[in-house]
């Protein structure tokens, strides 16, 4: 296998608040190959967005990366200066945010904003820059692109704005794009169009994609592998179909079971009791243990990631396996 474009090892991002230390991301590791799409799934507060922000070095005080390594094309990012990071952000790794209204500057035309993004990393003539911008808008499915370059964000619909944000992220053909719930605010018909396009774009350009989402169905139709986050850590990861068909971690199993799409109409859904724990006062050991019907005394200590057949889970009592993980 070739070297991964992105390699994250034991990443921990903590927030030092007045109320205490919030371990938003706690020991996250994964690899991403060229052109690969990984889904990062979890509920609100599970740390998926902070993981994405950490990859781009966008974590602001009181938060900071306290441990771990992020290697992009072999370069360690966590020790880089802000200036060196800026030179990579947008060129080698870029991000698409959930809310395209907040991402785009309302005072500039789409063309001006795309020009700024190009100028940040390259010297191009006005004509070449415009051609590149129009070309990318066409690629993401915006009709009559060169005319639309002169339009302002408010003249676009939500779906079209998100396409513009995607086009901007693609301007420099980055090796990795982190997409943070980019279709959550959109209608299903528009979401389907964008998912479809992103999958093709990743395939064509070789850009690796991290798709952050709370929606298992969305990532299952897009990503070839999944990582499920709970309370700041990845509790299960592996190839999408395998992980969804045959989940090992009780939390993953619970998430799948609680989807109405997997149940018979009218029948009560499987529910995970309780709520996600506060990151300020995580239980000792496995953070899911208080909500887990498989938990035992042993879950008072934190399980390590068990790796097997290209997948992994952090649980002593995995679902669908008769034998528990040996002590």
């Amino acid at each position: 296998m070739t070297d991964p474009v992105l390699s994250v090892e034991n990443l921990s991002t903590h927030f030092f608040t007045r109320a205490g230390v919030v371990k938003a991301v706690d020991g996250v590791s994964f690899d991403l190959a060229k052109g690969e799409i990984m889904g990062l799934v979890g509920e609100s507060g599970s740390g998926k967005t902070v993981t994405g922000f950490s990859l781009l070095g966008l974590v602001d005080a009181p938060g900071r990366i306290v441990a771990g390594s992020i290697k992009l094309n072999g370069t360690e990012l966590t020790t880089l200066s802000e200036k060196a990071l800026r030179a990579r952000r947008g060129r080698e790794i870029s991000m698409i945010f959930q809310d395209p209204i907040a991402t785009l500057n309302p005072m500039l035309t789409i063309g001006q904003q795309m020009r700024l993004a190009i100028d940040a990393h390259e010297r191009l003539s006005a004509r070449a820059a415009e051609a590149r911008a129009a070309d990318l808008l066409t690629q993401v499915g915006i009709p009559s692109a060169s005319a639309r370059l002169r339009a302002y964000p408010h003249e676009f619909s939500g779906g079209m704005r998100q396409r513009v944000a995607i086009a901007i992220a693609l301007l420099h053909h980055p090796a990795v794009i982190v997409a943070d719930e980019p279709t959550t605010a959109l209608d299903v018909s528009i979401q389907a169009q964008i998912l479809f396009q992103m999958r093709d774009l990743a395939r064509e350009t070789g850009t690796a994609l991290i798709w952050i989402s709370h929606d298992l169905a969305v990532v299952s139709s897009l990503a070839s592998k999944l990582a499920v986050m709970y309370a700041g850590r990845i509790v299960e990861q592996g190839p999408t179909a395998k992980l969804l068909r045959d989940p090992r971690h009780p939390y993953t199993a619970g998430l799948i079971g609680s989807l109405p799409a997997t149940a018979k109409p009218g029948v009560p859904l499987t529910q995970i009791p309780g709520t996600t724990p506060s990151l300020l006062s995580l239980p000792r050991g496995c953070p899911f243990a208080p909500r887990c019907d498989r938990s035992t005394k042993r879950c008072g200590t934190d399980p390590e990631m068990t790796l097997q057949d290209g997948r992994g889970w952090r649980c002593f009592h995995p679902v669908g396996q008769d034998t528990e993980v040996p002590a």
Binding site: E43, S44, S157, G159, M160, D187, V188, S189, I190, Q191, A192, Q193, L195, F196, R199, H214, D215, L216, A217, V218, S220, S221, L222, S224, T240, A241, L244, R245, G254, L255, I256, G257, S258, L259, P260, A261, T262, A263, P265, G266, P268, L269, T270, Q271, I272, T275, T276
Partner: protein
Amino acid sequence: MSAFLTVDNVSRLFGPNLSTGEKIAAKLGAKVETRSVRAVSDVTLSVHKGETLGLVGESGCGKSTLGRVIAGILPPTSGTVAIDGAPVMENGSKITTRVQTVFQDPFASLDPRMKVGDTVAEGPIAHGLTNKSEAGRYVSKWFERVGLDPVWVDRYPHQFSGGQRQRIAIARALAMQPDVLICDEPVASLDVSIQAQIINLFLELTRDLKLTSVFISHDLSVVQHVSDRVAVMYLGRIVELGPVAQVFGTPAHPYTAALFGSVPKLVLDAEELVYFDTIEGEVPSPLAPPTGCYFHPRCPLSSEICSVTQPLIQPVSDLRAVACHHFKSQLADNVSH
């Protein structure tokens, strides 16, 4: 079975708020922008006692406006809503407590400065369902009913999680002892695991209290799970109506088919990633809807007649109705797929 909740030919328009000066100017013949949006257009439907009707559609299709008109929160521009024959509104104000609403955002729908117990007790006291001395016991009963600990009545909304707040909102609605419950995206802002808890609570309560309900959601899988029948809306009109299994299984309207086709499915057994169908283009502006059938510019089945004549909603079978010139082709299409 007879209709319990009836919505008869309801339309709701939203126009610009004109200032007095503008009104006078318009009277004198000046050009003042008076275009209005038909958020809900000629909707007729009925819900049987104890039935749950799902209302689905994309943003801006008018499903929330219709929900608010049925709940008596917004007066309709024309048409009537009645429960068991009695109108919900008279002269623009609500005259019944028999219909109550649970809203999408439990952060906005609860008064942050009011103890949650008082929030739940306010309506029943005002309408004589309980009195001040009995209110404590009355509220506790409803707290227990929705799975909340009654010792929490003295807390404020910020002390609760999203799921708990939605339970409080449900308790507030049910404490009015309604016959009809309107749920406007009640689980849209909740995490999946909490969403399942609220859906289960909804199923249990509507069954036990024999509630008639309208469940509004953009999430088709949620609607499919909780509803008996479903109405699909597009640009203010109902384009298809029928039993959930039939509408979801064999859609008669091309929009319904396209909408279901674009929902990402949980891919459980395919090693190869699936391709799902997508609808071309976007929902047109309701300020300037297309001529004829509103869906025709995006419709794979559209023909000449579709751009000229608006299709009326007509029965397909005893239980189903659809507004499409080519529903027979659509039904045949389903079979061939």
